[in-house]
């Protein structure tokens, strides 16, 4: 009824006859790849070197090298009369950044980047929450496609599409008219600073397009952060007496904060550096990216362009330092 022998498979199934005849070391594969595999297996450092050398070379020389060259350029200045670059160290180019017109550009860009970041965080959170907590299987796939699909098409096409949507004769104006809400749109457009002749030439328009274009970069990190919050944390909080908003305030938000911080790095820095969107949609006032573009192009003032380009780097450094101090990365 019960097998009396143990369940070791019999010798016939194995190669090499009796246990005594079988070698303790299996024969090598031979050839270059065999030797290579053995070499890599013996030394983890060698493998690491192989894996890291290309990206480190790329990062070190091409990426950081050009960044350093840029930094260097910003310490030179331009001769007002000849338009030639003077290759000796000066801080006067940075001084130029503090001229009212240039300072306006910086303040304008930082305000735009901050409002785009804040708005995308507010819009992204519920979407990310739904995807992380409730979407399963088909719905999850639909979520990823829905978030990523806009990224598949050309950025320029999307921006021009938005120009049409926001134009005076565009679909939004038509929609507001159909809903008998033209007064609302006109009221908004008559507001100082954020208003304008039409949405497509106002800061509101620029803001909407930025928001649309960078939103996926906010949704995905928040979703990833929320994905790592087990449902039991939320149940435990509720079990300990917390109403839903208290659970959000004390559990969900702090745990999502690293994701929000990561997403805001994208939305903030991408807005700081972009020069296409404000050129196509918005008032003709410059943003940092446009300033860099005109300074190094039409104006030929490479040092000032370089100094402008350093501004987002400093702002991002400061931003990350603040985020760290405020504990955005504590839950990592």
């Amino acid at each position: 009824m019960v097998a009396s022998s143990s369940s070791v498979p019999d010798g016939a199934a194995m190669s090499g006859g009796s246990p005594a005849e079988r070698p303790a070391i299996l024969p090598g594969r031979g050839g270059f790849f065999g030797a290579f595999s053995d070499r890599v297996w013996r030394s983890q450092g060698f493998l690491l070197l192989l894996l890291l050398a290309p990206p480190v070379l790329w990062l070190g020389i091409i990426y950081l090298g050009s960044l350093f060259a840029l930094l260097l350029q910003s310490f030179f200045s331009i001769d007002e009369f000849t338009g030639l670059i003077q290759y000796h160290f000066t801080l006067s180019t940075y001084g130029e950044l503090f001229r009212p017109t240039n300072l306006d550009i910086i303040v304008r860009t930082v305000l735009m980047a901050s409002s785009v970041t804040l708005a995308s965080a507010i819009l992204a959170f519920p979407v990310a929450y739904f995807a992380a907590r409730y979407a399963r299987g088909k719905w999850k796939a639909l979520f990823y496609i829905g978030v990523m699909l806009p990224l598949w098409s050309s950025y320029l096409v999307k921006v021009y599409a938005w120009k049409l949507i926001l134009a005076k004769e565009g679909i939004l104006t038509w929609l507001f008219a159909k809903l008998h809400l033209t007064w609302l749109l006109d009221g908004w457009l008559s507001l100082p600073i954020i208003g304008g002749y039409s949405l497509s030439v106002s800061y509101t328009g620029t803001f909407l397009v930025f928001l649309y274009v960078w939103l996926p970069f906010m949704i995905l990190p928040i979703q990833a952060a929320l994905e790592r919050v087990p449902g039991s944390y939320l149940e435990a909080s509720s079990d300990l007496g917390a109403q839903p908003w208290q659970t959000f305030r004390h559990i969900l938000f702090p745990l999502a904060l690293p994701g929000i911080a990561a997403g805001s790095i994208f939305t903030f820095s991408l807005t700081l550096g972009d020069y296409i969107i404000p050129q196509i949609v918005g008032s003709s006032r410059l943003f940092i990216g446009q300033a860099v573009y005109t300074q190094q192009g039409t104006a030929g003032n490479i040092p000032l362009a370089a100094a402008f380009a350093v501004v987002p780097i400093i702002i991002m450094g400061f931003y990350l330092w603040m985020a760290k101090r405020m504990g955005a990365f504590n839950a990592l």
Partner: protein, 328 residues
């Protein structure tokens, strides 16, 4: 005094799956109650219904006489120790334990003092400043317990709280939980798939299978007088004897259970059986036997000779040890 927990005709269906089906159950105040069953038997759903994480599809649930229909978890004076402990990773231990008090608006000094006391009660004094990630599994389990108990709940729910601990720690925690429950006089409802744990800790045990309760009773009742084959089989490695064999012994065509420790090896009388396997358990040896093709388990105490496989032995048992079961 009303029951601590009262289920009347409660069902909880998930689509076509009947996690709990038409269940009646009464848990007395101050009782240490275990819900025992294999995974998917509905015991955890039962616990989640009491906590308020699930709402019954139909039926009526009361906690200390108050009806719980539509009452959210945060308004129930019931606390849970989660299977994965669910300690908040961004808070230190003291903040974790004080969370329920913080939510209720207790002042900072007062709630940290209460958290310190609760940590002392679970023998983790001075651990308040650490983070959950710095603690071992057993310590986290104690913190989860302190975090629940600091709120002085009417009912404490424990969802397989000892499942992730190693054997030694588990036995120690079993003792401590029992002592805590007696001193605090709180109703404990405890979910486990470990029959040893249920028997050793609980005042009463409910055995679950397929969304139904197969038997409720004291550990002694459940172990010695299982009502059905499922209970006999699930609670301990009982020998289940088929009706035709039982008929030759008793004249009644019923299923019966026979505890392994009731079978003794004798020199004369009894029945002839073949030894087929031995498992050394330290304090005893579990002996597998074949009695005319019927598999039986017996226990040979340490010091007694253990028959070799293939050896023929004579076995016997006390007639009173044979427990006839009403249900199959």
């Amino acid at each position: 005094m009303p029951s601590a927990v009262l289920f009347s005709k409660i069902s909880r269906h998930f689509g076509a799956v009947r996690a709990i089906d038409d269940l009646d159950l009464e848990i007395a105040p101050g009782e240490f109650f275990a819900m025992l069953g294999p995974s998917g038997s509905g015991k955890t759903t039962c616990l989640r219904l009491i906590a308020g994480f699930e709402q019954p599809t139909s039926g009526h649930l009361e906690i200390f006489g108050e009806t719980m229909e539509g009452v959210p978890p945060y308004r129930r004076n019931v606390n849970t120790v989660f299977q994965d402990y669910a300690l908040f990773p961004h808070m230190n231990i003291a903040e974790n334990v004080a969370y329920g008090l913080m939510i209720r608006g207790v002042g900072k000094a007062e709630r940290l003092r209460a958290a310190g006391e609760a940590l002392e009660m679970v023998q983790l004094p001075g651990y308040g400043a650490r983070r959950p990630g710095q603690l071992s599994g057993g310590q986290r389990q104690r913190v989860a317990l302190a975090r629940a108990l600091v709120n002085k709940p009417k009912v404490l729910l424990l969802d397989e709280p000892l499942g992730a601990l190693d054997l030694k720690l588990r036995e120690q925690m079993q003792e401590e939980l029992k002592v805590l429950q007696r001193t605090l006089d709180i109703t404990f409802v405890f979910v486990t798939h470990d029959q040893g744990e249920a028997l050793s800790m609980a005042d009463r045990v409910a055995v679950f299978s397929d969304g139904k309760i197969m038997q409720v009773g004291t550990p002694q009742d459940i172990y010695q007088k299982p009502r059905s084959r499922f209970v006999a089989d699930f609670v301990g490695s009982s020998n289940v004897l088929p009706p035709d064999f039982v008929e030759t012994l008793t004249g009644l065509s019923l299923w019966a259970s026979l505890r392994p420790e009731a079978i003794t090896i004798t020199d004369q009388g009894g029945y002839e059986a073949q030894a087929i396997s031995q498992s050394y358990l330290g304090g005893s040896t579990r002996l597998g036997l074949s009695l005319n093709g019927l598999r039986l388990n017996a226990v040979v105490p340490a010091g007694k000779p253990v028959p070799e496989s293939g050896e023929t032995v004579r076995i016997d048992w006390d007639r009173n040890a044979l427990h006839l079961m009403e249900a199959s």
